[in-house]
């Protein structure tokens, strides 16, 4: 018994050390990339000159019950600064007036377009063309979920690159130009994504971001620091070693033929965005083809974060299930006999151990240590040392994310804003992170039980929209 307890204690300790060493390593990996990014700014900020060689892009906007916001979302997309793009809105069998709102706003009319079904998806009802905007089409289809809607969009799209996005993503005018840059410089680029930031508190007018502010809602504030950690050193660190496993479904650009050859989005997956990226790694590596998945650290997409515990809980459970599904459906990435490269040999095992099963180990660790303390197996001092260690390392990681933000972007210029974020970096370690870990554990157990996946609905308030 004593040996068993001792073994468990060392197991939790080892896990704790490895996860923190992993995050610190990602942090260090992100630094040179961000340094380079800031060095290139004098060139990147020059007025863009287009040559006509920029690859045209199809913006795919899946919409389900978006009656209130869809017209203004499309209007803001029409204003993007990019030489050639089309917008394809896919109405995924909405039960509200989404289609009517679009018809009215853009003078849509049914058009006898030949639909090229390269990826299996639910049938379409009608394809509409806009009489007011030549680059806008709307596809009305039978409900099948976001992934299915994106597959229909890919089938109907006309350009070699497509941009998958959420109908309510808030972009800047240059977002598309920035996320497509990797495709200009790298012929092997097959996907590119960017940093997603939280829009709560910001001023958004007609779908465009006008001013960056911190939210007043404390839960949204907590998520700001969380997103900074996830994107600035999480994804940026993996990107440095070509091992990005996630491109946010809110805004990401893909080479269409690579996605079609990989089979498109999996409609039976809840985390279709991550699943596609992991599968692209697996398929491309199995074929031995050169490819690259890029990550642009610029904040190019802004999204509304949940402001209530119930909505946040639902979101995190869904994300965790999606992550577990994505990893398990692509186990072969690990088995590519040494050809898995950084994604297969480093990122995949890291995600599997620390992101997929991590919540189970972490919650078990907390419960175990508390139980050991209560039965007197661990002294108060030792228990306190364990908690202090967890807190201080968590705080260190959050502060390092704030440092990267300050160094590379400086989006929150006022001292009061940074002061607030530092307070949040302290507060999030005192219950919030543990709560999120618990929700992720629920997501993990639901995935293990095999619950059915549906459209990820999230109650959005949009109170900051003008």
């Amino acid at each position: 018994m004593r040996t068993f307890i001792l073994g468990l204690e060392w197991f939790f300790l080892l896990y704790f050390v490895l996860i923190n060493v992993g995050y610190i390593a990602l942090n260090l990996l992100a630094i040179p990339s961000l340094r380079r990014k800031t060095a290139l700014r004098p060139l990147e900020d020059l007025p863009p000159v287009y040559s006509g060689f920029e690859p045209p892009v199809s913006l795919l906007v899946p919409a389900y019950n978006e009656e209130a916001t869809i017209a203004s979302s499309v209007r803001s997309l029409l204003q993007l600064d990019y030489p050639e793009f089309e917008i394809v809105v896919i109405n995924d069998g909405s039960k509200d007036g989404t289609l009517e709102a679009l018809k009215q706003a853009f003078q849509l009319e049914g058009f006898p377009e030949v639909y090229w079904r390269r990826i299996n998806a639910q049938p379409i009802r009608t394809i509409y063309h806009s009489r007011t905007h030549a680059n806008l089409r709307v596809i009305d289809k039978v409900n099948g979920g976001k992934a299915d809607a994106l597959n229909v969009g890919i089938n109907a799209s006309r350009f070699p690159l497509f941009c998958a996005m959420d109908a309510d993503s808030i972009l800047q005018r240059d977002s598309l130009r920035r996320v497509i840059e990797p495709f200009l410089d790298d012929p092997t680029a097959i996907a590119s994504g960017g940093t997603v930031r939280i829009a709560n508190g910001c001023t958004v007018s007609a779908g465009n971001l006008e001013r960056v502010e911190l939210p007043r809602n404390f839960l949204a504030l907590l998520q700001i620091v969380e997103y900074l950690r996830a994107f600035l050193f999480g994804r940026m660190g993996w990107a440095t070693i070509d091992a990005v496993l996630i491109i946010s479904g809110a805004f990401g650009v893909f080479r269409k033929d690579a996605v079609v050859e990989a089979g498109g989005y999996k409609a039976d997956t809840i985390g279709e965005d991550m699943e596609l990226i992991v599968r692209l790694h697996r398929v491309m590596r199995a074929r031995g083809e050169p490819y690259k998945i890029h990550f642009v650290p610029d904040p190019i997409c802004w999204t509304e974060a949940p402001e209530s515990l119930a909505v946040l809980k639902g979101q995190r459970i869904r994300w965790q299930r999606g992550l577990c599904e994505s990893l398990h459906k692509n186990r072969d990435l690990l088995k590519t006999h040494g050809a898995g490269g950084p994604p297969g040999l480093l990122a995949y095992p890291f995600f599997m151990v620390f992101e997929c099963y991590g919540p189970l180990i972490e919650v078990a660790g907390y419960v175990f240590m508390t139980a050991m303390f209560l039965v007197g197996q661990i002294s108060g001092l030792a228990f306190g040392a364990f908690l202090a260690l967890a807190f201080s390392l968590g705080f260190l990681l959050s502060v390092s994310a704030l440092l990267l933000e300050e160094y590379a972007f400086h989006l929150y210029p006022r001292f009061s804003q940074m002061g607030m974020l530092i307070c949040v970096a302290i507060a999030e370690n005192l219950g919030y992170r543990q709560l999120v870990t618990y929700w992720r554990l629920i997501g993990l157990t639901r995935w293990l039980r095999g619950a059915r996946s549906t459209w990820g609905t999230m109650t959005r308030k949009g109170s900051w929209q003008k």
Binding site: T38, L43, F111, P112, V114, D185, A382, S400, E406, H410
Partner: protein, 357 residues
């Protein structure tokens, strides 16, 4: 039961690590505060000077000799040059040249030359861009070295600067890199070629095309669109009968312009690669007539959507084919895909967009 774990030494170690992490976090917080202070101090200095710089730069576009530019400190110089580069990018002709004169009159060209050799990539890029706008011959050697041996971004910035300084000479130096360096995107090269204009780029493009390099010919063929079409066309069309390279055939089909090219275009319509068949469909629509009806109808049954689409488009624009004949073709089409595609092409032709006021 005796306590299993941890020993006092292990607890002390855990506490030490926790304290160490907190100490590092505090150091990072101090770093954030310092960074903010430095940035704010610098921004205030720049903000104070920037309005004056803008006024001076605007005045200099009229007469640089009469423009008074207040002395610029070492720390503000990069910000000034970034602003100057911005002005340059949005100006052309004499106004841009006058801005260059302003820099020389104030001795700032020396800073530009120094920046090109700096260790900091940011300063180097500012210097390289400014040297290009200044048409700074003294920077040629260093820029050539950077263009041929530097990393992707830096080498391209240097190439761009060389092309601004002396385009014809630069094109000679850079020709192998323009075709061979895949990390120099065609979109970026294209924007420079567009800026230089066909007068400058046609000659070097013709030379590069005639050499017909094995590596990168497809890139040169694509860039050829920035040259004078008549001179490029003669060369590229000549390849139609002698090349199997897909990109070359596609480019050649883009240049076909009269009946004499019809045999090549018809031959390409049977090519195994669908993008060549698509280019053939487009070319036949441009130069063909009733005689090409059979080939286009065959392409209308192609397994690839895009080939069918362009075949249908070409049919709707084919010389001498009346709208009612197209309707008859559609009604009599035995292939449902072909009929649908023709319906789409006819609908697109009839589609009247509403003009927004």
């Amino acid at each position: 039961m005796a306590r299993a774990w941890p020993s006092d030494a292990e607890v002390a170690f855990a506490l030490a690590v926790a304290l160490g992490a907190l100490a590092v976090a505090l150091i990072l917080l101090v770093a954030i505060a310092l960074m903010r202070h430095v940035r704010r101090w610098r921004m205030e200095r720049i903000a104070g000077a920037e309005n004056g710089w803008r006024d001076a730069l605007s005045e200099a576009t009229e007469d640089p000799h009469d423009t008074r530019l207040a002395p610029i400190g070492r720390l503000e110089m990069p910000a000034f040059l970034v602003l100057w580069n911005h002005f340059q990018e949005s100006l052309k002709g004499e106004a841009a040249e006058r801005l260059g004169v302003l820099l020389t009159l104030n001795g700032i060209d020396r800073h530009v030359l120094r920046y090109i050799r700096k260790r900091s990539l940011r300063l180097r890029l500012i210097g390289i861009t400014a040297a290009g706008h200044l048409r700074e011959q003294r920077a040629w050697g260093e820029l050539e070295r950077l263009a041929l041996h530097g990393g992707s971004i830096e080498s391209f910035a240097a190439a761009r600067a060389l092309l601004r300084i002396e385009p014809r000479r630069a094109l000679e130096v850079l020709a192998p890199a323009l075709s061979g360096r895949e990390d120099w995107s065609l979109a970026r090269i294209g924007s420079i070629f567009q800026e230089l204009g066909p007068q400058v780029v046609t000659g070097p493009l013709v030379t590069m095309l005639l050499k017909r390099p094995k590596r990168g010919l497809n890139r040169i063929v694509k860039l050829a669109r920035f040259g004078h079409r008549d001179r490029i066309s003669t060369i590229v069309r000549g390849w139609l009968g002698s090349s199997d390279e897909m990109e070359v055939l596609i480019a050649g089909l883009d240049y076909v312009e009269d009946d004499s090219d019809l045999p090549w275009a018809k031959g390409a319509a049977r090519h195994v690669e669908w993008r060549v068949r698509m280019a053939a469909a487009k070319a036949l629509g441009r130069i063909g007539g009733r005689g090409e009806l059979a080939v286009l109808l065959e392409l209308l049954r192609d397994p690839i959507w895009w080939v069918r689409y362009h075949a249908a488009q070409s049919l709707t624009h084919l010389h001498g084919l009346e709208p009612h004949e197209l309707e008859t073709l559609r009604e009599n089409a035995r292939d449902a895909f072909a009929a649908d595609m023709l319906s789409q092409a006819l609908a697109e032709r009839r589609w009247q967009p509403v003009r927004l006021t």
